[in-house]
Symmetry: C2
Subunit: 617 residues, 2 copies
Amino acid sequence: MFSCWLSRLCRGLSTPTGRVTHLIQGSLSRRLMLSSQRRIPELSSFVARTNTCGELRSSHLGQEVTLCGWIQYRRQNIFLVLRDFHGLVQVVIPQDESAASVKKILCEAPMESVVQVSGTVISRPPGQENPKMPTGEIEIKVKSAQLLNTCKKLPFEIKDFVKKTEALRLQYRYLDLRSFQMQYNLRLRSRMVMKMREYLCNLHGFVDIETPTLFKRTPGGAKEFVIPSREPGKFYCLPQSPQQFKQLLMVGGLDRYFQVARCYRDEGSRPDRQPEFTQIDIEMSFVDQIGIRSLIEGLLQYSWPSDKDPVVVPFPSMTFAEALASYGTDKPDTRFGMKKYLKRKDIESLRKLAADHFNQEVLPVFPKANRNWNSPVAKSIMEEQRSELIRLMEIQEDGVVLLTAGEHRKACSVLGKLRLECADLLEARGLVLRDPALFSFLWVVDFPLFLPKEENPGELESAHHPFTAPHPSDIHLLHTEPKQVRSQHYDLVLNGNEIGGGSIRIHDAELQRYILATLLKEDVKLLSHLLQALDFGAPPHGGIALGLDRLICLVTGAPSIRDVIAFPKSFRGHDLMSNAPDSLPPEELKPYHIQVSWPADSEAEKSSLNQPYHPES
Amino acid sequence: MFSCWLSRLCRGLSTPTGRVTHLIQGSLSRRLMLSSQRRIPELSSFVARTNTCGELRSSHLGQEVTLCGWIQYRRQNIFLVLRDFHGLVQVVIPQDESAASVKKILCEAPMESVVQVSGTVISRPPGQENPKMPTGEIEIKVKSAQLLNTCKKLPFEIKDFVKKTEALRLQYRYLDLRSFQMQYNLRLRSRMVMKMREYLCNLHGFVDIETPTLFKRTPGGAKEFVIPSREPGKFYCLPQSPQQFKQLLMVGGLDRYFQVARCYRDEGSRPDRQPEFTQIDIEMSFVDQIGIRSLIEGLLQYSWPSDKDPVVVPFPSMTFAEALASYGTDKPDTRFGMKKYLKRKDIESLRKLAADHFNQEVLPVFPKANRNWNSPVAKSIMEEQRSELIRLMEIQEDGVVLLTAGEHRKACSVLGKLRLECADLLEARGLVLRDPALFSFLWVVDFPLFLPKEENPGELESAHHPFTAPHPSDIHLLHTEPKQVRSQHYDLVLNGNEIGGGSIRIHDAELQRYILATLLKEDVKLLSHLLQALDFGAPPHGGIALGLDRLICLVTGAPSIRDVIAFPKSFRGHDLMSNAPDSLPPEELKPYHIQVSWPADSEAEKSSLNQPYHPES
């Protein structure tokens, strides 16, 4: 386990073999040139060390080195294992009288103290090599040592972090970050984002533009944090995305924009969400859906980590209607088909789940041999309907069919959830349905442009956001049957998770006004600047945003997005390390012309009742 | 002017000559390899156009092209100039009957409408070439055209933006962004940041790590915006820098960190400040001051735009004491020495300035021939003092000396300001003292660690921040004469502007506690997480932050940082385009348990009196 992380961590960081002769021909494509170019970052420039602990190999034998690192462990006051981000190396503690002071330092420093040692790289005695350790052929014969800092008794051991509760890990995040898994996750994230930047800036001429985060409320922006200003009653808001700004950049002629954008969403307590998150935000002028899709396929292919299987493009695509009908969700996990191996008691637990959680009756059908269906529902299905169903559903004879009835979207959705439940059941029996090494991308397209409002189904709301362009084939329906209009929105799905979404935008001011004012009944005043911008020669444009935290989480196989963020909040939005958010004395609120409205006791009780109790992770 | 922007804009974007054969030898250094590698971004991948308007040259003759752009102007319904971010190109409007529909589109579309045209690149007729235009040898013979969007009457013409008020430019920022100057500034910014990333990540193994912006109040953080949370009375704060997080990353073993970090500072109305700004934030373990300085010198050298003179390293350095004594400031403009050419009436205006603005008497001395000083002060200076002064100040015989008396820091500061005033006076006469093409970097070091508190000079406050390490030679003074202790802080100055600052930090928990609690009398509880982290094996570390907006402003020669930010706030903190900050209905504040405290009329009046009136830019 340990050496596995090590070798994954080291790959792509440096090679111990020194410099390689490059002969790059002009006939190679630009892309090849960039990716074939060796990256050997100098990991020890500008600092006290000559080498990292993890990079030393037999090729360094005889070299005088200076290393800095943490004491990982010590054996019988003879050996000491020193750790830095790059790996581990064995240090031989000198035993002769003349080196008594060095021995004292190295033997007395508590575990996790920081030391600097200088010495010679030597071979381990024959038979003492450790093939599980990348540096296992060598050790360091120390000449001098310096204690850079001591370490008090730790709340947990660094190497054992996985067994600690997440709350403890978050409280001592700076210790948790020393784990190889966190080092691997954060370094992979940095490298992957850097490759994305190379692809966008250097290969395709995109411009990295920073947009403001002190903005104003957007229509319907109920999940936006508010920031009081020094003007009484005036507030900034933290935007959920740079949507308006990126469209305004297109109007401004900056026609290939991207940003690794910090976004904010106040959703209260929801597991695996963060109040601040990061998206790869992209917008282009003069582009269509196919253009954006090709760009993103190329982006992921180019930036994909070299220790994973390469990404195959183009990604398959599926309409929203198809995804709902076949998978019961708009984000199908297409790694598996899965309609087998269920046991009778599984079926019962699935029926119970559907009834308890979704208030939906589900009936199993076993279309066994002789078409003598073994199901409570069998008697109400005619013989010829049976064969038709079998044909339509492409059922195998020993399969199981789960039937349900009801409103299309709801019925499909329940069956989609049961499909994932079945996968859980089968994987609990050791069947690998969802191979973690498999990355199954899928475009979902042709979403509806509008949905009925949940609280008032007679009115419409945008399925995504009000700037989404209608599907060109459905524009004629806008004035007659707006509910039937499909949009030019597209989602990117990876292994059953939505990792991105975007659309071709409306660039016609009249159409945008009609949709906002007449169909959505929004207050157009809040968006007057955007509508005006569309009047002044706005080019056709479209874009996309990829959820970076979720993407890196899937790539690294981390159990939670908190494992790919250096300092995440708990799912109640707390920083358990620094104790944010925190109380402020009233005088610090005065310049902002606000005061706290303390809830009355009864109200506080009510609000705590409304909010389901979530213990901190 | 116009073609000058154009050619600066195009340089570094693409070369029209196609691909060049590269032969890169392994014997070349890594740095050379990376910078010699040609970047020819594909500016027309994934989109409707085949080429940009600005890239077409004689080498494209005969090619069928599709272009998308804005109509810049039209001449006699025969020619039309099409513009995109890359430049201008002349389009010939077809005059024959068969192309009547194309002619109609191109002749009737208002200026700044967006069109797509397809046609052939042809030579301009002999004598009609325009050598001032990069595309001046060719024009486009159009076959088809499409009106992508029309443009209503503009509030100002795009090409004339400089003459408009800044308020108008900010209100219609999306139009202002179409100007060549804004395109140049934002694209240069993007390229320069990308090169910095290459240097840090690809050459030196730095890890790009995002730190939270929803944090808690830091001690003394009076300029931090507050964000109410859904817990009554609990607030997040937007940090002024990732200072605590980057130090915690060092404790976490992520030993080479950087981030292009969004930072926040609520300073009310101050010219040329922004409530949100960006810094290149860097931290390293096991490093000393010289290491950080070399890193930054290499960073600026590597990322410096190719159309400027190369940066020469190492940068000179000067102690704070020296800078104050010689230049009267901690950020000297070292482009000029300057002690000449002043006229009698200039001296009078300088004396008046010092008396009116700084309440400080200044006396001129003219050490002319014969040492017969022409000055009111001459008679009180002895003959031998005169020669000593002339020797010490290295005065030329025809120079002018301005003398003043008083507290050292204040007296120096006045003289420093008069020095800049002299430069203004002399430049108004046509003397070039501060060459805008000259970039004069300077390190200022050995700052004091503490300053007396302004409101209570008996107490100390940090000259920079409380995590700055004391100078190793002065540690013994910490307990006896803390005011005499110099720090390991360093500032980077460019042409008289502070563009960066940093320090070696305290990594010893006891020392940090002593400074915070005993010397600064801060509430240590607010920083308990950081103090605890130092206890658990914190490595020695240090770092720096460069102010990106200011740096890009100086590099581009822009008059204000607002010209290098896509959507800046006015200096009262307003977004004049979207009208942020804005009012919110009370029900939107309810989830955050706050209400507005409307100031009483008298109070409002008082506060408006305290705040000097600033018309919006």
